[in-house]
Amino acid sequence: MKGSRRESRPAGRAFVPLLLPVLVLLVWQVIVSLGVYPEFIIPSPAAVLAKFVDVLRDGRLLANTWVTLSQTLAGLIIGVALSVLLGYAIAKNRLLDDLFSPLIIALQSTPVVAYAPLLVIWFGSGPTSKVVTSALIVFFPMLMNTVVGLRSVPKSLRDLMLSLRATPWQMFIHLEVPAALPVLLGGLKVSATLAVIGSVVGEFVSARAGLGWLINDARYNYDTPLVLVAVLMLAVIARVLYAAVGLVERRMLAWRR
């Protein structure tokens, strides 16, 4: 069924996602060609491409990308692990829900840029503060999704499992996890992109490496093409992480299709 649906897509449909980027590139080039803005405000796509090749060759792009990516992944893993654990506890225990909810809502509504400088003071200017920032920004949406996912398990299925004398572990593995997984993976998709933001915000505050640092360094050197290269690289990281989670989602939720 799935295969036949894929085959029925018009041949040109695969190129649709590329239309908008191509259009943006065209508009960008038109603006540059018309000379509406000076080159230092909007450099040409060719200048950005040339800078990309430069920093790729001298190793700066990959080195800084790796720093940001490693901090992002560490923050994502830690943030997701802690939020799922706490989310499970909150979903199961109303007392914990009442205890944590006010704090969680308050913290979730606080922009990470507001407290990122404090995290750098508390955890130092090294990678730890970036990982913590990343984990924190991931933590709250993932926690919410965990609670919502676990609470969305239909009562009828729960009753059925209980009638079959399922143990708590069997309930968890065979009912709660599969039922909550779609919501959890949806949260993970969002978290993957948020983790990149957390890492970069930390690098903006204080760092010696990473794409956030590279952007700041380029700004202080008035190197606008390099700023754009680093920004595009961040977009690529976020897109790749999003796609990776999407891949996991398709595999793990294959049973739903």
């Binding site: 018009p10 649709v16 239309l19 908008l20 259009l23 943006v24 508009v27 603006i31 509406v36 803005y37 000076p38 080159e39 230092f40 405000i41 200017s125 204080s206 010696r208 360094d217 700004r219 202080y220 050197n221 008035y222 190197d223 606008t224």
Partner: protein, 386 residues
Amino acid sequence: MIVRNHRRLGLLTAFLLTFLLSGIVSAQETPSEQTLFMTYVPNIQFSPVYVGLEKGYFAEAGIDLVLEHGDEPLGVDLIAAGEHQFGLISGEQLLTARGRGRPVVFVYEWFQRYPVGVVTPLESGIESIPDLAGRRVGLPGRFGASYSGLTALLSANGMTEQDIDLQEIGYNAPEVICVGGVDAAVVYINNEPLQIENRAQQGDCGDVTGVRVFPVSDAVDMVSNGIITNEVIIAEQPELVAAFIGAFDHALHDVIDNPAEAYLLSLTHVESLPISDALHEALTTMTADQAAWLADNPLTDPASRAARRAELLSQLKADFDVNELIQFEVLLATIDLWDADRLGLTEATSWTLTQDILLQMGFMEAPLDSLESAFTNDFLPPMNEG
């Protein structure tokens, strides 16, 4: 379904084009106000601006001045793009920006001495810059005026960064020095040394009893902070540039001559300035006394003005706590960096030296084609004004 998707795509494209075109239109609009861009946050060190506003010098010059704070690269780009008209920006940022095609020009050298230096506790045994060899030296980070100043200072003494144990400590020099985290630190000499000394006097700085300061300006004459604008404004509105500089220069003279008055006029702009009723009263009295004293004793040279300021400070120190006076002391120490025989004058030799330092640090890839185009003294008011 496909038709609907095409419609959506069309709408999205229209939105994108509208967004971009609206940006173009707004970028070309002539601003109705003149904006002065300043770094950091409101601070007593910007008192000439506050005095100019409070005494109406900018308004008299036909300037409706709006103040905006942010980081230097952003300010330089906004001025280069014509979004803002003026900025208080460092000389090295201007050179770096011009090297990358920004048409910005330095039109008034506000700080006549480079404000950066190295501070070390008296107990450190460091009595000269060569003594820093192998010692732990704190630095906010490898950027900006602190890094440029340190590089220049080391270079003037035949040293490089590799000769010292450089540690990035952010803007926390007083705390790190007091706990013995570093042996010396690169600081703004009008600020942190005062803070460390005050803490030491109160027994709140570990074993430190006092500090020794090595100003960069004692070794090399680099360009420091000044007023910048862009080439278009200079070409099309030279009268605006002259009017702005005239007002700023007038206010700067006032601050140098009567710092107590400047402190009081800055209160509405800098909320964190310490002020008690008693200090307010003392400064008000001092403002009037200084105005009367100046009428009978015109101070014509920086040395006599500095002596008078020291006299005023000693009077206040007899009655007020060091914590309450700290920002007034910062103002007086900053005035020392501004004052000169000719306020605002910028010299070609300083620019050459600053460019050499930036090239050495790799912040500039090549010398500017025309270094002389980066600065001008054409808008300085005549000597007898102010």
